[in-house]
Symmetry: C2
Subunit: 370 residues, 2 copies
């Protein structure tokens, strides 16, 4: 954290704040802004499926369409790509709060995202939409109950979405809305495109029985030899899934989680987590005070303590604080930052070093298991 | 329609209706049910972007998180794949009501969907989530207004989703929930996986100023030489987009739309539509009476009249009623039916016959324009 403090707010460049706050029509990213890679992408397979879920019986006013009957809720939508020449280790990427798997696709300014990059580096890769968000859908029943006058309005879940100006500072594009850090790696010129990525978030997580954990566990067991990567609100999901059932999980990565529960996990839990390689990743400008809440520093410090505690228990945890590697200006959305592929390379180096990668098993049949 | 009537309900096989209505845990499709293709898929590019949208200013209770500020609503999420050796014509696929682009991906029983298939047949292909659904997100402001007691509960949009039992008959898997048509092409054994594909639908379309039309028009202009394919609730979207601005659109396909407005379109509108090749597609069992509303027959008949009216105005419209081609048992979800790729072949034959396909322009630069 040395360098961060010496920089402070002296090195700021004002961006036009008007684009962030102007109501009305929004100019869209053009298709021509999207930059395809130079080499073709050769896939053995790609596709999608939907895991988990439970069936509930809804009344006609709850379904809101035709008649009542069964609805499935709490399911998880999963997309995957398997490269033609696949490694034995797979990657599962979980988006953060208010975001979908779009986080890991084409960046707001049209560059390659982590999903494609991990595939190009040989990893069978899976991205998910969290339960209750994006293509996973959400449970509409409480909302329609309020609409029908059967439930009190305040029983309806709060639909949360960061305003663009709030995201700007909380995601550390700069110290104030529309003002960027001089060294920011976030493509702030495409901030409007980023704002379009956010969707209403109904989640009240982490919950002990979060259906995301069940679905992710099922996914890991179906794939085997998986590295689970969580981000922000889902940063600790890999820990929580592992604590419930480590089967299928080879290593876990927490990107900028809201702390690591360094003092909250029991010794038994730390012991369980110490059996797997763990990487925690944080970007730059962690000490900049937020308008809402603290800076990111307490989360970073809690995760440093977590890493120490896991290692003291015989574990294999590491902290990757990017400025310590000479990478400056990374935001909270580091998978979309301009050096996103260099950050991915650090993760891939860590994976190669930390786990014994099995031989690829792709040739043995028609199954996706690798 | 000859054959349909002679079959009626005599040829039905009862499926276990219990799986449809049983509350509680739902067994998920296994990853091992997914069947990859035999040949690798070679892509020049793939990715996603978000088009359209407008910025609104929300209060803290409306954003539901931290403070108030700007939110973008009415944007459209788009995913695309460009094959390595691309044709000059592109395909845009729009899902139907309560569904996401998942409709065009891996089928509920794990077979290849249209999205991958059109790419394998050489078409740069685009799938979208409708505005207000899936990864496009939705406008949460009216909901949070009700929750905060600032708006009356009944001002909140109705969230619509077909119960599994209702979808079974309305989507023509069979004449009653859990009972299949003997010749059904829908993978009814994976009906639970299909039920997981449906998401809450806030749309009140068609509206004259539907933001889907704006975003689709922008997409077509960005791609050029596009075939727009709509389905069910979005079945007439290609007509409506064309009427507003035909630029970039080469041909339009309406799959089982809720009628074709045969008598509602003005002569001027019919004249505009007569300048493009138009294909309307319907599956089988159109005359089976639904529990809610009529059979599909009136929609089919209205579209037959539409085709006649367009052609009388000098146009190039065709009706593809699959039983007339010897393909029986197709459901409303014909892009997921067991003969889905054969149906796609009919569309591709029609495209090849109906439009002058331009030379591929992929080699000229880094742009996606083809």
């Amino acid at each position: 954290m040395r360098r961060v403090r010496s920089k402070q707010l002296g090195c700021l460049v004002a961006l036009s704040a008007a684009v962030l706050t102007m109501p009305g029509a929004t100019s869209a990213q053009s298709l021509n802004d999207v930059k395809p890679a130079r080499k073709p992408l050769v896939l053995k397979a790609l596709g999608s499926l939907i895991l988990g879920g439970r069936t509930v019986v809804a009344s006609p006013s709850e379904t809101g369409l035709y008649g009542g009957g069964s609805l499935i809720v709490d399911q998880m939508y999963v997309q995957y790509m398997i490269p033609d020449r696949a490694r034995g280790t797979s990657i599962v990427m979980i988006p953060g709060g208010g975001l979908t798997a779009k986080s890991y696709e084409t960046t707001p300014d049209g560059r390659m995202g982590w999903y494609e990059y991990f595939v190009r580096r040989g990893f069978p890769s899976y991205v998910v939409d969290q339960v209750g968000r994006g293509r996973s859908g959400f449970n509409q029943i409480p909302f329609n109950g309020v609409r029908a006058g059967k439930l009190a309005p305040d029983t309806q879940p709060n639909l949360r979405r960061s305003a663009s100006e709030v995201a700007w500072t909380r995601f550390r594009f700069g110290p104030a809305a529309g003002v960027k850090f001089l060294d920011t790696k976030f493509p702030v010129e495409a901030a409007l495109q980023f704002a379009k990525q956010t969707v209403p978030d109904l989640s009240v997580s982490p919950q002990p029985d979060d259906p995301n954990y069940t679905a992710l566990s099922e996914l890991a067991k179906g794939i085997m030899q998986t590295v689970l990567i969580g981000h922000s609100q889902s940063g600790r999901f890999p820990f929580e899934v592992t604590l419930r059932d480590p089967e299928g999980i080879s290593a876990i990565v927490a990107i900028e989680p809201p702390g690591c529960k360094a003092t909250e996990y029991s010794d038994a839990e730390i012991s369980k987590l110490s059996r797997l390689p763990i990487l925690v990743v944080f970007g730059d400008h962690l000490d900049v005070r937020q308008e809402f809440g603290n800076s990111w520093l307490p989360f970073y410090q809690d995760c440093q303590n977590f890493v120490k505690r896991v290692n003291a228990a015989g574990g294999h945890a590491s902290m990757l604080h990017l400025p310590d590697k000479g990478m400056f200006g990374n935001s909270h959305m580091l998978m979309e930052d301009k050096n996103n592929l260099q950050v991915a390379d650090l993760l891939i180096d860590w994976i190669a070093k930390s786990i014994q990668e099995p031989q690829a098993k792709m040739s043995s049949g028609r199954k996706i298991r690798q």
